[in-house]
Symmetry: C2
Subunit: 426 residues, 2 copies
Amino acid sequence: MARLGDRAALIPAGGAQPRNFPANHLPFRASSHFLYLVGRGLSGAMLLMEGGSAVLYRPTPPPGDDLWHGPSHAADALGESIGCPVRPLETLKVPRGTLTLPSMDAVTRAHQESLLGRSVGGAVSAADEPLAQAMVETRLIHDDAAIAALRRVGRVTIEGHRAGLAALAPGKRAYEVWAAMQQVFTAHGMGHAYAPIVTPHGEVLHAHDLDAVLKEGDLLLADVGAETADGWAGDVTRTWAVNGRYSPTQAAIVEVVQRAHDAAIAACTPGRRYRDVHLLASRVIAAGLVDLGILRGDPDELVADDVHAVFFPHGIGHLIGLDVHDMEDLGDRPGYPAGRTRSDRFGLGFLRLDRTLQPGMAVTIEPGFYQVPAILADPSRVTPHGDRINRTRLAAFADVRGVRIEDDVLITAQGPEVLTPGLPNC
Amino acid sequence: MARLGDRAALIPAGGAQPRNFPANHLPFRASSHFLYLVGRGLSGAMLLMEGGSAVLYRPTPPPGDDLWHGPSHAADALGESIGCPVRPLETLKVPRGTLTLPSMDAVTRAHQESLLGRSVGGAVSAADEPLAQAMVETRLIHDDAAIAALRRVGRVTIEGHRAGLAALAPGKRAYEVWAAMQQVFTAHGMGHAYAPIVTPHGEVLHAHDLDAVLKEGDLLLADVGAETADGWAGDVTRTWAVNGRYSPTQAAIVEVVQRAHDAAIAACTPGRRYRDVHLLASRVIAAGLVDLGILRGDPDELVADDVHAVFFPHGIGHLIGLDVHDMEDLGDRPGYPAGRTRSDRFGLGFLRLDRTLQPGMAVTIEPGFYQVPAILADPSRVTPHGDRINRTRLAAFADVRGVRIEDDVLITAQGPEVLTPGLPNC
């Protein structure tokens, strides 16, 4: 509110979405802005901040609701637990000039537009820019409670990965491994922060199909993170050998990625520009691939010319907090401060974060190596690099389709703190 | 299509909904009508049936999509597997007078309205009535493939309940029991058909909070059903003693509910009116409560006067298929044939189905006994029954807040087939 001055702001929770029919619902996940400010997801509720005070407005249950859903929380008790008055949503009146952030769900967005008497848009409108900036400034640096939540979800995420590794065996389906990981999360009262990726096709960066049969000699890439009941996210990737031991080519690539991972984490210190962390990891990968004979040339030049991005096309990581890509509903505002914009270079253009790191920021570090057919078969992506890619040598690494190693890191004045510690890659 | 005559019909799958930010999604669940006709959930796709032939229209992935999501299925291969041509959604042209059914998601509904040039509405519009009726007639009687799917999901649902019972112990949280059940579903490549109810507060009929600590002497009501990858639902409830043995009062009530359950299932034969199954179960409950001294009077009169409904306020069950309440997006059309309408009596008015049973129909049978404060403390619900409710005797049953026993039943020419067999109540 201090950052908003005399402007009022309306923050909607969003609403539960029907699934198949009105009485069945998709799992409800409140807006992270709402969760940050209110501390609990209350479907259909809206927070109005105005003149230095806040009021929570929530829908009144329909008559007879207590027969099916039990008595609803008394407004007084709820208000005491969240620290502001609670009133019926029907009584909400929004002052002229109130700012808002567009809800992700279309029904709530229409409600916002009717309350505000103006278009709210799918992206942040110019009128709402000060609120978007205030939220970014508020959420960017995690406070002690947030840090505690991130440590907790980090530990449970790691425990889930251990269970996944323990469940791994040739002949199983990927969903059997995911079942073991999910069981850990659920038994801690947690959910998952994003659709799990558990796949022998690590080269498909967003592979959400969990049906694959795991074969002797395959790698299994597991990108899975827990989420606390109040919304804090974990985000960890490991790449395991299905039969428990890497082939020599798999071991060699995993070692390169691990070195990039370790070097990037070590570089997560206050004052460091995150793009430089990305470039450092890129250089370690380029140098490693030169050593293995897959790339030819000077590692610095290879990175300058984006040759490494043929195999590591995405960014080294992103902000993490209440969203696994924290505040990405606000576009590049959280990731790119004034004066910095996304690169149009291949690879670097997918970097979601280019801030100067400060204590209290939390990021992922997730280097990878992939043989993506859509890149390797695309002349526009590979021809410019001429003979710097050694296709003959690359063919020897056919059993390494995709490797990624990812952990979550808190920036502290003393240096990087791994929020997801103690989990070896295999 | 035969039921539609020369009318065209547009069936949308619905689309994945964003979760927190655009690149993250809630789990996508396609419309059951679409799943029934196409056999797989394809986010954003629409099926157009016209003049006896059908074409699937699907969104064209954006450029560069294959970098992130891998190569998309070729239209030819997809078309062959689903049995109709596949074309880009952008080329979809909808004939005048095409019928449709409103998607559950607002974005898809807006797309339907723009394609059809008319309002589609949140409920079925009068213009679309023939399509709604055709879908009801088609989906009401399950074919062999549907029956096989319902048997499969029934078995996995039962296996999940066994795992839940095995995980049960005083001091645990409800979500630890749910974690064991969910693990079984996920490890079979299945999800869950509805938000799980796993609660010591069975008297809250829709209690979705999984946080409760399970206490010695409590009952735990678990209403949990698996869902196959292509959408077929299971729906089973058991009420367990947290410490493994019922108290005498708990055992007495569970026995009454079990008798109602068994009698109702035995009555699920072709030609039987489902309302009579409900009334039969109600009578068994009323008679049992008379025997226990909780109700006074003649069981038939108690049922005629809805006294039993104070303790058993909901219906005996509902249709089950691709939706756990099958086709409930079409309102009462699937449950109530022409000439039958919902009762306005308390209890009976919550009965979701009043068809005459036929072979191929699948229903749930789920009698219960609850001490719902919102009912027992409501003079308008209890005063008319005078001294027929023995409050003094009822007080002895304070450790029985809510009991329900539910299985899924297929109607066959030979009689009822329990789709969820072999699971004792404790």
